[in-house]
């Protein structure tokens, strides 16, 4: 049913329908409304789950690790500092192949402290062995959670659903909230594979010496690569069951005739689409490639989509300090060595710490990359507040 509501509420309602059995989360802006909603649903008896109010994110992740290892469907949500605090546990969860789902309400990282949106947090943990998917709008944010539990439980890989903090979490827009029975039909009950249960004694989380550790990492890496097929399949199944496209590895918009392609992920894709339509009316052909799944990185899908495109600009809300664009780096690597000549891939960092990304600034970016390649630049930087020596 189409409802008008805040992104956080859409997510919490849909997560509740996925029947998580143990939820543990620590409040942190801008994830708080999701946590509060779920706490309320549990206390009102409308969600049959254990809600554990823990003392930190590190404990939240640890609680759901234990719950998942015991065979329960487990869920948490966090962002920024909280995600970093639980990083150690994130690696553990992936290494232990626990199918946990986590909502990351993307937010910038301290220092300096900033509670507004960028994607540095989820980028920081991109190597941890989690599947990472990014939502374009609140409809997709809600839908991705249903897909996430299914993907996680099929692949035995934890899934992080990323949605831009404040921009999506605190935005009100129409979202089609499915009926509980629709979700039940799509998402069967959790059938855990390796659990701690006296009936089948097993040891989970052993230590592996140099004879074995490397192979566990290889297996995990391959599992992530193979999960691409599951992500695609679940997305297709979802579309069929719920009647709308959602999720998947990548999505494109007006790519066919594009002379320039913007590659990005998350909510800014919406702003980019508006710009593309405006530019089209002015006779300029620009296209969009949206990354749905960032990990596993859909290298082949990107290559197939962009192989005939010679001018590409990657727009991202994170930066590898001292190196440059993270998504840009991954995109550049998508093209085999022999096909890099003549192809321009510019890199723009934008929107850090909640800095507004205006259509005007995106227009300027398009104008610049149509004139010359841009190795790396920060969009809309206010040089007036930067000392000369720091430029």
């Amino acid at each position: 049913m189409l409802k008008y509501l805040e992104g956080s509420h859409a997510v919490s309602q849909v997560v509740a329908m996925c029947r998580p059995q143990v939820i543990s989360a620590y409040p942190i802006t801008p994830q708080t409304h999701i946590v509060e909603d779920l706490a309320r649903l549990v206390s009102e008896g409308r969600l049959d789950a254990e809600f554990i109010n823990v003392e930190s994110e590190f404990s939240a992740a640890s609680v759901i690790l234990g719950a998942s290892a015991a065979g329960a469907r487990a869920y948490t949500t966090t962002t920024s500092q909280g995600l970093l605090l639980m990083t150690e546990v994130l690696y553990c969860i992936a290494g232990m192949r626990l199918p946990i789902v986590l909502t990351c309400t993307n937010r910038a990282i301290s220092a300096p402290l900033n509670i507004w949106n960028d994607q540095q947090d989820s980028m920081t943990v991109r190597d941890a062995g989690w599947i990472q998917v990014y939502a374009e709008d609140n409809q997709e944010a809600a839908d991705l959670h249903i897909q996430a539990f299914k993907i996680a439980e099929q692949t035995n890989l934890p899934v992080m659903v990323c949605m831009d903090g404040f921009i999506l979490t605190h935005a009100f827009e129409p979202v089609d909230i499915p009926e509980p029975q629709e979700v039940d039909a799509f998402l069967p009950a959790f059938k855990p594979q390796h659990i701690v249960d006296p009936r089948w004694p097993r040891a989970l989380g052993l230590y592996a010496d140099p004879r074995f550790y490397m192979e566990t990492r290889y297996i995990l890496h391959r599992a992530l690569e193979k999960s691409e097929d599951v992500i695609k399949q679940v997305s297709a199944d979802f579309s069929r069951a719920f009647g709308r496209p959602s999720g998947g590895l990548i999505r494109t918009y007006k790519l066919e005739n594009a002379d320039l392609v913007i590659v990005t992920m998350g909510s800014v894709a919406g702003t980019v689409k508006d710009l593309i339509d405006a530019l089209e009316e002015e006779g300029k052909q620009v296209g969009l490639l949206q990354i749905g799944s960032f990990r596993p990185f859909p290298k082949q899908a990107i290559y197939r989509a962009l192989k005939d495109k010679m001018n590409i600009v990657v727009l991202e809300k994170a930066v590898s300090l001292g190196r440059g664009g993270i998504l840009a780096s991954d995109v550049r690597w998508s093209f085999p060595r022999g096909e890099r000549k003549g192809r321009v891939i510019s890199s723009f960092i934008a929107g850090l710490g909640g800095r507004n990304i205006s259509t005007d600034s995106l227009r300027e970016m398009v104008e610049r990359v149509c004139l010359e390649p841009v190795e790396l630049d920060f969009l809309g930087l206010n040089k007036e507040i930067i000392a000369e020596r720091d430029l």
């Binding site: 008008y4 935005a171 919406g270 990304i357 205006s358």
Partner: protein, 185 residues
């Protein structure tokens, strides 16, 4: 696409105002988006909220920099925050004030309207939260969102007596703007 920017202080229901307007527009069969721009939860700090209304799906996420409509819930913000920035020259700004629009001496070519929203709120709702009165004034002047839809949105958000009080305040605002009764000048 209609773009509205709401200025106020934390505690004045700025985000609720955006939500109600957008929800009402949705009920009128339009597409609508509402979102806030604020810092940590703090009473008294300046807050902005944005609303977009259109006949087709709204995809952009940038802040509203060139609003056609401004709703100013705290008139004293005008002195400290660049409230009028980007307002379209032929736009409309509604200010919560107990004075004539001219007395505000706003530097704008846009239409200025005033309504003593806080006073009305205190009288009808019992709390100095001006948001539904400002929404009522907006609907009345512009006709962009139906009053009936706002009433439904209010009742959805505020249960029982609080909802009815808010609806009454909304209707009073509408009455004032329509008939010119109760306006400062």
């Amino acid at each position: 696409m209609i773009e509205i920017r709401i200025h106020g202080r934390g505690g004045q229901g700025n985000v609720a105002a955006a939500e109600l307007l957008a929800n009402a527009a949705f009920k009128d069969g339009k597409y609508a988006q509402a979102f806030p721009s604020f810092g940590a939860e703090r009473i008294g700090a300046p807050v902005q909220a944005f609303v977009r209304i259109d006949h087709k799906p709204i995809r952009t996420r940038e802040e509203v920099r060139q609003p056609g409509y401004l709703i100013v819930q705290d008139r004293y913000l005008i002195d400290t925050v660049p409230v009028l920035d980007g307002l379209k020259p032929d736009g409309l700004v509604i200010v919560n004030a107990d004075t004539c629009p001219e007395d505000l001496q706003l530097k704008t070519t846009a239409t200025v309207a005033t309504i003593p929203a806080t006073e009305i709120a205190l009288e009808i709702i019992g709390k100095p939260i001006p948001n539904v009165i400002m929404i009522g004034a907006f609907c009345s002047i512009t006709g962009l969102v139906s009053l009936e839809a706002v009433q439904r949105a209010i009742r959805e958000k505020f249960p029982g007596k609080m909802g009815e009080n808010n609806v009454a305040a909304l209707e009073r605002a509408h009455e004032i703007m329509q008939k010119g009764k109760g306006q400062p000048c």
